[in-house]
């Protein structure tokens, strides 16, 4: 995992900006990541090419899913100091509110860490973290487990 090795080159935790910046699809979406209050947070400014409904306008449900899944992956790498990407096994996304043409944020937490699989929860919001736009629950296979 060369890009993860680069992201972790200096410190004991990966450089989130380097990590997310190395993922081409995240660059396409305009997603960046940083540490806030001691935990990773993902930031996705609004852009026209993220729109799924031009009439409202609203972000595409798949863009929301992409941000949440990325938040889950980043959290697993960051928390477990993983040198390889975890593999999503299954995810469930609940759409709670319409995602407007505004900057979106996402955070994740590991709900249960097993030997081979982690259960991750993630939430996305726009201007009010207490009013999530969407939530994800999912399982990820840890790298190295039953390769």
């Amino acid at each position: 995992m060369e890009f993860l090795a680069r992201a972790m080159a200096e410190g004991t935790t990966p450089d989130l900006a380097v990590l997310v910046g190395a993922i081409p699809y995240c660059r396409h979406l305009g997603v960046s990541a940083e540490l806030r209050d001691g935990a990773p947070i993902l930031i996705m400014p609004f852009a026209e090419h993220l729109v799924g409904n031009v009439m409202l306008p609203a972000l595409h449900g798949g863009v929301i899913g992409s941000l949440l899944e990325t938040a889950a992956i980043v959290q697993v790498i960051w928390e477990m100091r993983s040198p390889r990407l975890p593999k999503p096994v299954d995810i469930t996304i609940d759409y709670l509110r319409s995602a407007r043409a505004a900057t979106s944020y996402a955070r994740a937490r590991i709900a249960k860490q097993g030997r081979r699989v982690v259960n991750v929860h993630a939430e996305m919001w726009q201007d009010d973290e207490t009013k999530p736009v969407a939530a994800l629950r999912g399982h990820m296979l840890l790298p190295g487990a039953a390769a």
């Binding site: 396409h28 090419h49 798949g62 899944e69």
Partner: protein, 153 residues
Amino acid sequence: MSELPADWLDHARKMMGQTPYFAGIGAEILEVGEARGRARVPYGPHLVGDPDTGVVHGGVITALLDHMGGAAVMAALKAPVPIATLDLRIDYMKPAVPGEDIYAEAHCLKVTHEIAFVRGSAYQSAPSDPIAVCTAAFMLLRGGAALPYPGKA
């Protein structure tokens, strides 16, 4: 409730094909009809989720399945109603092979007054060998937000 316009399926095909996110990743609608939809996205460097292997990001698969689920619901409606995804579950069966096109298809199983139920799958070489399958529910926004139909635009 008004009847479906005669050109509803053509409208659905066009609208789903022109969605900024969908068009922006280079995807195209292959067919919309009979409560079904099918689309294709050619492999491209901007879709990659793992720069070391070139495997496409799972979010691309999620987006394609959400999109075609919506198309399948539109194709199953008896009257023009705006819809919104309520929830979506994806099982990732195996990574997409880098360099190969990805297909996504969805089928609307049932439309009730408020909810539409969908199954879908994504595959590369053959539909019988899926890279992911999905189960989704969509809300019918009766009397809700503006209908995305040219007549009302």
